[in-house]
Symmetry: C2
Subunit: 270 residues, 2 copies
DNA sequence: TGCAGAATTTCATATTATGGGATATAATTT
DNA sequence: AAATTATATCCCATAATATGAAATTCTGCA
């Protein structure tokens, strides 16, 4: 089969370090798919960006077109195809938190006019499951399917509200990396204690500049935090007093969703 | 590489006839993905359904898990992963008709309490791009990303309203296949002429039993039909008089969307 | 009409996917 | 607790399949 890639196995790829063994063809096919997620891309660019020959890129892309994962416009390039609409839809269906939460998120977005997110914890990160854009002309730089740190986002903080302070420390250090000082942690910890007490969290331009948000956890039957939601907007729309007001609305929404998930009880679990 | 599949190339697969040449690994990977779209599936079932060995199924699935296309719960099985949420979202973004139409479809669904669909023509079929479920307890058996015949669905008929009668004949015969008689066509044609005149179409339990729907075309800048929408419900909610009333609402909605697509003009193009 | 860039096909080569089986891990029963 | 099952993961020789250079066919544009 290939001739070139044998050398570039261990080090060359700036991707995740893993995967020395695997299915090259499948991996490359997925690379092609993801390259097209960024927008229309021609065969030449595709081949270059992925360091494939034109033949290989063409062959992989053709298979994906045949299976409707990509769409191809002759002198234009490749775009994501309808199969991904279908699978995306199915993926949503399979996560019933999304289904249950969706109408509540909609309502909250309409009421606040701001962008609403839904997320869950995946490993040591917050995974964005849904996003309802607000009416305001503010672009929130988040994408469904993406992951963000737990300790520096509103969504993330709400997800770890029940964790121990030791765990908080671990996560904080892991997220901040070299930039983490013990002093920074103490300040953060003080805020987190208040958030945990109040059952909601804020994000004050920590993760994204000029963006503030208000978040709260969703609890499932046993009281465990299963997900969280947040309302985000530009700092100019997010005065301290409005954030306090929003906290109530967000908590009313998470309470309604939690109830649908079978949780009956008061914020702090006994 | 493989040993078994060499014989089963031409005939064995009841899939689409094509693809004698291709990237087996990629194709199989996509098969795995689609098998998981049906719901949780264990490794054993997966291997059996796709006629793969456990090793191969495991290897492919592991790659898909690593890339987050699948999620794996140890004693449970594989489900669609968050990457598909992301790509599904991106695919929607790339089709700007979906973006533009979405709020209008929402509003129509709320107003009518019924299921609203958006679709475009893809080849000789209608492709479902979006679906907003209604409030009523009626399950409409359609899935986003799926394709249905043009001549027997409301969505489809609205898409071909501008076609010639010759083309209608071709499509009708192709869709109905062996069941198509010239007499059946004459009856259908008579209705289609009325639909084309009125700028909307009905579907009277032709495609799905006990489901009726009202549809209308969306036109882009040049007047060409770019998409269509439909309102569907159980026949019991769809009296003839209500359908006439709905036709007005649906057309008001398509007019609004068409205007956003840059089309200024009256229903029949000059 | 002819050109240039893009799309597609061909084909010999050996790299990489394959699958049988062996091994490890975890649930379930005796 | 030990035995039993079912499931998950790993290993490796084999050759089938993916590969890429180049040739060929398209297609839009000047």
């Amino acid at each position: 089969m290939g001739l070139k890639q044998s050398t570039s196995k261990a080090a060359a790829k700036p991707r995740e370090a893993a995967a020395p063994s695997g299915s090259q063809t499948l991996l490359r096919g997925l690379d092609v798919l993801e390259a097209a997620a960024g927008g229309v891309i021609g065969l030449a660019d595709l081949a270059e960006r992925l360091e494939l020959t034109r033949s290989t890129a063409h062959r992989l892309a053709s298979v994906l077109v045949e299976r409707r994962y990509l769409a191809f416009a002759p002198r234009e390039g490749y775009t994501l195809g309808p199969k991904l609409l279908e699978l995306g839809f199915s993926a949503r269906q399979q996560m019933n938190i999304i289904r249950i939460a969706a109408p509540h998120l909609e309502a909250l977005s309409v009421a606040t006019e701001d962008t609403v997110h839904l997320g869950v914890q995946e490993g040591a990160l917050a995974l964005y499951l849904d996003k309802i854009p607000g009416r305001r002309r503010v672009e929130i730089g988040s994408r469904v399917g993406e992951r963000q740190p737990l300790t520096t986002t509103g969504l993330g903080k709400a997800l770890i509200l029940d964790e121990s302070e030791e765990r908080w420390h671990e996560l904080f250090m892991a997220d901040l990396g070299a930039r983490a000082t013990e002093n920074a942690f103490r300040i953060w910890l003080k805020r987190m204690r208040a958030y945990a007490r109040d059952g909601h969290a804020f994000d004050l331009e920590e993760n994204e500049d000029r963006i503030r948000c208000v978040s709260a956890p969703i609890r499932e039957a046993g009281g465990r935090i299963a997900a969280s939601i947040s309302v985000s907007s530009a700092a100019q729309y997010m005065s301290d007093s409005r954030m306090e007001q929003l906290a109530k609305e967000v908590k009313a929404t998470t309470a309604a969703i939690s109830r649908e998930l079978g949780w009956r009880g008061d914020p702090p679990r006994a």
